[in-house]
């Protein structure tokens, strides 16, 4: 019946459009230009009011009738059984009655339920009739009213635009209200959690032991074991590893795509790269768990020294930057040492130093690598993020005006010099915001970490060990078999903290993007 009513309203709306347009046309006659609004707008205005009035009446009447039926059934159920029913019994009874009425399968059948079902069927019919009358009536009233308003001077165009604007505003409001509602509920639940741990915020933000459900058998959270530091440290470590993989590869891919690839290569490379972004993260997850993590475990003897070497060279590079800043020209003088091989020697010292540190810690180069490691999760997550960085950076690099490239080439710069000294600095704000968006994806990523990094809240610096992240702990809390009321509180607190961090990152990224736009607009 409701569907029928809606259909009738749509038909009336279509009729309203045609009638309004026809009336306006007829009014105008040959003085078409004298009509304030074109006939289509008169039709549109009529149509919109018919829809708003008709569907509005339908929703209101249907809702009111539903409420009346429910309350009547509730009171009748108590009267029929002659005893006070608990809420759950009542719900069951009403559901059974509805099932009998609509031909479903009830849990049990008795006279009281059948009587209720009979009422439900009858009431349902009258409800349908009421909805039909109200909906069609309102629609027809709106049709007549708007049609009577049509005249040469009637500003249907301005008015229908106002109605459209209102519809758009309502849609936007719904989206905003939803967000606000989610944030408010996050805040509320977080406050409840803090209340349960007696407002020991310090323990939450700086504690190093995470096992919030340890005291659950005594019916309360153990405030000693709610330290979120290991989770955030794990998140940070995996994010850093992921970005170390994604940023260089993504950025270099972007530079290749935007400035070196021929249009033909670019035409098929870019979509291919973006396919990476379309792979579900759960697929990346088991790829990490089944392929990458065991590979790392089996080859720890090779990977650990390589990592140590890389870390040492990176430290050496940073030290060089600092020294160059403190004493300009340091790098040049270093290059001239040792017969022109000064710089090579400098990095060799750092590399050997890195290896020496690892050797002193483990002379046999036999490493006990966990089968789930931060490295495996981080590397795979990095691969997942590459297309985000490369695609966004490619757009940003392409947005650097050709005139800047020409200016640089015109001064006799090579392509590489132009990219390094003009294009990248000009695109830097956009690239930074691409990286920050990548970071917020890495922070929020769950599946890969669940499968490849483990669940133990382990506070460690070693990327070869198992760690856990905020999102993984939320999953563990919610899907665990502890009752939802208790488990949800720490999950909400973690969720809120994570939300806050991601929000801050996104706002920062947006600000950078805005600054970047101002530069060229």
């Amino acid at each position: 019946m409701t569907l029928l009513t809606a259909l009738a309203i749509l038909i009336i709306a279509a009729a309203a459009f045609l009638l309004g347009r026809a009336k306006a046309s007829a009014l105008a006659g040959d003085n078409y230009a004298q009509l304030h609004s074109r006939p289509n707008y008169h039709g549109l205005y009529s149509l919109m009011w018919v829809l708003i009035a008709g569907l509005g009446a339908l929703i209101v009447v249907s809702g009111l009738a539903g409420a009346v039926i429910d309350s009547t059934m509730t009171s009748r159920a108590s009267a029929l059984t002659g005893e006070a029913l608990s809420q759950i019994q009542l719900d069951l009874m009403l559901n059974d009655a509805r099932a009998i009425a609509t031909g479903g399968i009830p849990s049990s059948v008795d006279p009281a339920r059948e009587a209720l079902a009979e009422y439900y069927t009858a009431a349902g019919f009258w409800r349908g009739v009421a909805v039909l009358i109200a909906g069609v009536g309102a629609a027809l009233a709106a049709l007549l009213r708007t049609r009577s308003q049509i005249s040469m001077e009637w500003r249907a165009r301005n008015r229908s635009e106002r109605v459209i604007r209102a519809v758009l505003a309502v849609s936007a409001t719904i989206a905003i209200l939803t967000t606000v509602g989610i944030v408010l509920s996050l805040i509320g639940e977080t406050l409840i959690f803090f209340n349960r741990i007696d407002w020991r915020l310090f323990d939450y933000f700086f504690g190093t032991t995470w096992s919030p459900l340890a005291g659950v058998f005594e019916g309360k959270l153990d405030p000693e074991k709610v330290g979120a530091i290991p989770l955030f440290a794990g998140t940070a470590m995996i994010t850093v590893i992921a970005m170390l993989v994604a940023v260089p590869i993504g950025l270099m891919a972007a530079i290749y795509l935007s400035d070196f690839a021929s249009p033909k290569v670019r035409a098929w490379t870019k979509p291919l790269l973006e396919v990476l972004a379309g792979i579900p993260t759960v697929v990346y997850g088991f790829f990490a768990a089944i392929t990458v993590a065991p590979f790392i475990r089996d080859n720890g003897g090779v990977i650990v020294p390589i990592l140590g070497l890389l870390a040492a060279v990176i430290v050496g590079f940073l030290a060089l930057l600092l020294l160059e800043r403190a004493r300009p020209g340091f790098r040049q003088s270093l290059t001239r040492q040792a017969g022109g091989y000064g710089l090579v020697a400098y990095f060799a010292v750092f590399a050997l130093g890195g290896l020496a540190v690892i050797w002193s810690a483990n002379p046999g180069f036999t490493f006990d690598v966990a089968s789930e490691s931060a490295l495996a999760a981080g590397v795979v997550m990095g691969i997942m993020i590459i297309p985000f960085i490369s695609s966004l950076s490619d757009d940003v690099i392409n947005a650097v005006p050709q005139s800047l490239r020409d200016g640089s080439y015109g001064l006799g710069a090579t392509k590489a010099e132009t990219i390094r000294q003009v294009i990248l600095p000009a695109a830097l704000p956009g690239i930074v915001s691409a990286v920050l968006l990548g970071v917020s994806r890495a922070v929020g990523e769950t599946m890969i970490v669940v499968m490849a990094a483990g669940q133990g809240a382990n506070l460690t610096w070693n990327p070869m060990e198992t760690v856990t992240t905020v999102t993984v702990q939320i999953v563990a809390l919610i899907t665990g078999d502890t009752e939802a009321d208790t488990a949800a509180a720490p999950a909400f607190a973690l969720g809120f903290t994570l939300f806050f961090i991601t929000l801050a990152l996104n706002i920062y990224a947006l600000r950078i993007v805005r600054k970047y736009r101002e530069l060229y607009d």
């Binding site: 300009p328 800047l404 020409d406 200016g407 080439y409 001064l411 090579t414």
Partner: protein, 281 residues
Amino acid sequence: MTVAEDLGGDAPAETGAVARIPSASARTAPELKMTARSCDVFYGDNHAIKNVDVDILDNTVTAFIGPSGCGKSTFLRCLNRMNDTIDICRVTGELTLDGEDIYDAKVDPVQLRARVGMVFQKPNPFPKSIYDNVAYGPRIHGLVRNKADLDDVVEQSLRRASLWGEVSDRLDQPGTGLSGGQQQRLCIARAIATAPEVLLMDEPCSALDPIATARVEELIHELRENYSIVIVTHSMQQAARVSQKTAFFHLGHLVEYDDTTKIFTNPHDKRTQDYITGRIG
């Protein structure tokens, strides 16, 4: 070698039907800097420049005039091989700088562009500080040994672009924050800092107001002391004011090339006359 000697020898053989090379200059003739002989340019199938012969003299301002789409900018971009960056563009014929073929396989376009600098229609300062904008060329070409020399080059370039007085106290501010006219003079300073021998200017004043235009024109006049300058312009008054030689392009042909005074008072070709009197273009 003077122009007269050079052209006297092979003018009949070299010059096409449309281009008229001047016979002699009244004053002491400047040196020949760049030459083009039967130069053709194609964009894909489009024949943009047809059999152009031009001589660019040292310490002279040469103006290229002509209606939009006549190929004057395209030809200008051949002179420092900027067209190399456009894939579908093909250049044939002989173009020389100091007698060397610039399209020879041995010539590195990057080095060529350091010798033949370019200023563009729209001011395009890099999003860097004013100082770094000017220092860009000297840095990449290793023209200076230390910071003091670089400071010196930057100051000299800005002075010669008559911008020093306006920016000397804010060299660390972004170049994009200057006004349009200042930006264009910054771009000129940036081009001078690389110490080119020839300066190509592609409608350098078309985005500027009359006051900024006057300053840039004044600047062109002063720069002529040290450089060979080629300027593309839509403004015939500008060509008449700043140049000593003028080349008129029409539909990819070089219609006429002569002393500026001759072009504007007594043009040889009917099309030139029609253009400068405003009947075509």
